[in-house]
């Protein structure tokens, strides 16, 4: 079935669910007291909170907002129907804000010379930079879509928020929860508030996860996996990759929601300020942490990459290997941490060569055994260097085994011990070999026999010197065409290369070609 049509059906289903739930809540749960001033204040708070989204995962579009604790709190203070109204207001506001920020970013981009590029993009301090980066970040969540799809998207988003609130409110009501603005006689904190509230949070979590899994099934099913197996695989990945990161902060949100409810009942809107302070502080901490980490990894990776820059062609090679490795890791659905760090590892995979003399590295004649031993030391040396850096610990092994063959050949020698080669090392190995085969950097070096000084005079690149018979290194020969390189990879699958990696790699090359985003 067509992806767009499937998405339309998904939107319609969510929207219908939202409508049914709203009607059900209307019929089942009476409105108590006068919730309308509360609706205003909670909606205002939730709209402000929506602007403070924290990105959990780079690129995955998963963000945590303080919206859910506010909505939970609104449910148990004001009742489910007011809470549904608030969620709809917040949903519309969020969409509108994203759209406006997106437009603002476009305008700022177009007139960046007028606003001053230094203030707008490069500055690291000041309110204006802070503000503009917020606008950019928020605007980046909006995608240019056809009008029809945009309407579906907005409807689904708003309906999604309603769906997350409605059933939870019903659960709260059926478990005997009272609405705190007018709890009525016989109110008992434990049975009329705390226990039903846990039910509410659990219900909200389950509904959230359900919608996420459904969304993943419709929007990004695992490529290549079909039928029931594909469905199950997609569900599993959606739960692990996206579901768990969403559920984990819920414990914290639970505390925030209880604080909000209690404080609103006792000191009205002032309570929001008290509850918001620690949330803002924690958000600042989280942002700071992500930024520091990012700066650290970038600094050390760049520095280390420059250190291997012994050859004018090395940098291009490293960039291509990093790019292909990251794409392949994504293609193979490796864990998010692996995807994030594999390009770092690819940039640094040959750093151990810094201890190998240039005479050996640049030698064009076949290497002696002794020289080979020197070259073979580089993965272990590189792993040693990497082990002192504060990256992901497992990167050390990715680098140590990037010349280890799938069948146990290659190096470093493991003295007969059967080691498990990390799949990331196998990816780097395959991509590195592929780029070395197709790279035409060798063509820029003039072919000249370093034993007798013979020059062929034409552009031929013989594997053996026609004059003195000295054998040349494989690297010094003519680069292969794409087809030849692919053949070589296929031949090596199972012996030199990991068969799964080659399968995914060839599928990816077949589908996307060898473009580089450098």
């Amino acid at each position: 079935m067509n992806r767009l049509r499937l998405y339309a059906i998904f939107c319609a289903v969510v929207f219908m669910c939202a409508a049914v739930i709203t009607l059900l809540v209307w019929a089942e749960v009476p409105i108590v007291g006068n919730p309308w001033p509360g609706v205003f204040w909670f909606a205002l708070l939730a709209c402000l909170g929506e602007l403070l989204a924290v990105n959990l995962q780079e690129g995955a579009g998963v963000s945590v907002t303080p919206t859910s604790p506010i909505l939970w709190s609104a449910t148990c203070v004001l009742g489910p129907l007011p809470a549904i109204l608030i969620s709809a207001i917040v949903g519309v506001f969020s969409m509108l804000a994203k759209f406006i920020c997106y437009k603002c970013t476009r305008v700022l981009d177009a007139h960046s010379s007028y606003f001053g590029v230094s203030v707008y993009k490069n500055g690291s301090h000041g309110l204006i930079t802070e503000l503009s980066s917020m606008i950019q970040g928020y605007g980046a969540q909006w995608q240019e879509r056809p009008l029809g799809v945009t309407i579906q998207y907005i409807a689904a988003y708003v309906a999604n928020m309603v769906v997350a609130v409605g059933p939870a409110g019903l659960v709260y009501h059926y478990l005997g929860g009272r609405f705190l603005i007018d709890p009525g006689p016989g109110f008992h904190v434990l049975t009329s508030f705390v226990l039903p509230f846990f039910g509410l949070v659990a219900a909200s979590g389950i509904v959230d996860l359900g919608v996420w899994v459904l969304h993943a099934l419709v929007v990004n099913p695992v490529p290549g996996a079909k039928g029931v197996y594909g469905l199950l695989l997609t569900m599993k990945l959606a739960l692990i990759e996206v579901g768990l990161p969403i559920v984990r902060p819920q414990l914290f949100m639970l505390v925030v929601a209880i604080a909000l409810s209690y404080l609103y009942i006792h000191i009205h809107v002032l309570g929001f300020i008290i509850a918001a302070t620690p949330v803002l502080a924690l958000r600042d901490f989280f942002n700071q942490w992500v930024a520091e980490r990012e700066a650290y990894v970038n600094t050390i990776t760049t520095l280390a990459t420059y250190m291997q820059h012994y050859h004018p062609y090395t940098r291009g090679h490293l960039k291509r290997v990093a790019d292909l490795a990251e794409r392949l890791a994504r293609e193979m659905q490796l864990p998010a941490e692996s995807v994030r760090y594999i390009s770092t590892a690819a940039f640094l995979h040959d750093i151990g060569k810094i201890g190998v003399s240039e005479e050996i590295l640049d030698k064009t004649a076949k290497l002696t055994d002794e020289e080979w031993e020197k070259i073979k030391e580089h993965p272990v040396k590189g792993a040693e260097i990497i082990s002192h850096l504060e990256f992901l610990d497992s990167i050390v092994d990715w680098i140590k085994y990037h010349h280890k063959w799938h069948n146990g050949g290659g190096y470093p020698a493991t003295n007969g011990v059967d080691i498990e080669i990390p799949i990331e090392a196998a990816i780097i190995a395959a991509v590195d070999a592929f780029d070395a085969m197709t790279d035409d950097r060798e063509l820029a070096i003039k072919w000249e026999c370093d034993s007798c000084g013979y020059q062929p005079g034409d552009n031929s690149r013989p594997p053996m010197c026609p004059k003195c018979g000295a054998e040349k290194r494989r690297l010094y020969r003519e680069p292969k065409t794409l087809d030849q390189a692919v053949d070589e990879l296929r031949r090596g699958a199972g012996s030199q290369f990991h068969p799964k990696v080659i399968k995914a790699f060839l599928a990816m090359l077949d589908r996307d070609g060898v473009h580089f985003s450098v």
Binding site: L270, P278, L282, N298, T299, Y306
Partner: protein
């Protein structure tokens, strides 16, 4: 319509909120930067050490020079951020040697003029590498000029006197002393007393008098 009741529970929440906020601010503004600084130092030391394995005889050179440099800079009244920068510069001053062929670095015989040129290019190469990293871009001057001498006989620019950044003047004296007292392919390790004498003789021509006197004073105290 609405009564404000400041109950014990409200106070409890206020105390909890303040505690979380202060803790979180403490972690993000003080503990985290300190931890990251440790990570940077450790990683930069490791990368410098990796380059040193190429240049036999210099293992530990950068780290020793960094220690001395920081001590001298402290005596000269540098604090905080400046001190941190000078430590990074000391660790990274020879990183440009990553792009100098090993055969030249470890040559026992006197270098030819071309080879000397290549070895001397390491300050420029190092400065370029560091300038490419935003986090370290501000120390490229220190690295570029760490082989300049007070009287203008150094390289690459032949700067004189105060025109050389203070950090580079400290680096020059600390690096020279450490090179003298360690074993190199082209010379045997000097006796520390002779090295001190050599430095003393060159204060005022090769080395800045102020930096030099503090350096010697520190050595005589045995630190």
């Amino acid at each position: 319509m609405f009564n404000y009741q400041i109950t014990a529970g409200v106070w409890l929440f206020i105390v909890i909120a303040l505690t979380i906020s202060i803790l979180s601010l403490y972690v993000s503004r003080w503990y985290l930067p300190m931890k990251m600084k440790g990570a940077y130092l450790k990683s930069i030391t490791a990368l410098a050490a990796a380059v040193e394995t190429k240049d036999s005889g210099t293992v530990g050179h950068a780290q020793r020079v960094a220690q001395v440099t920081v001590a001298v800079a402290k005596k000269l009244g540098m604090t905080g951020h400046d001190l941190e920068r000078i430590e990074y510069a000391a660790l990274l001053m020879d990183i440009g040697k990553a792009n100098v062929p090993q055969a030249i670095l470890n040559k026992k015989d006197p270098l030819t003029p071309e080879e000397l040129e290549i070895v001397r290019s390491h300050s420029k190469l190092g400065a370029e590498m560091v300038a490419a990293v935003p986090f370290l871009a501000d120390i490229d001057k220190y690295i570029l000029h760490h082989h300049e001498y007070w009287d203008g006989t150094g390289y690459p620019a032949g700067l004189k006197g105060e025109a050389i950044p203070l950090a580079s003047r400290i680096l020059a004296i600390a690096a020279d002393y450490d090179a003298m007292i360690s074993e190199r392919p082209y010379h045997h390790a000097w006796n520390p007393a002779d090295a001190i004498e050599e430095i003393r003789e060159n204060i005022g021509n090769k080395y800045d008098a102020k930096v030099g006197s503090i350096f010697l004073e520190m050595l005589s105290h045995g630190s």
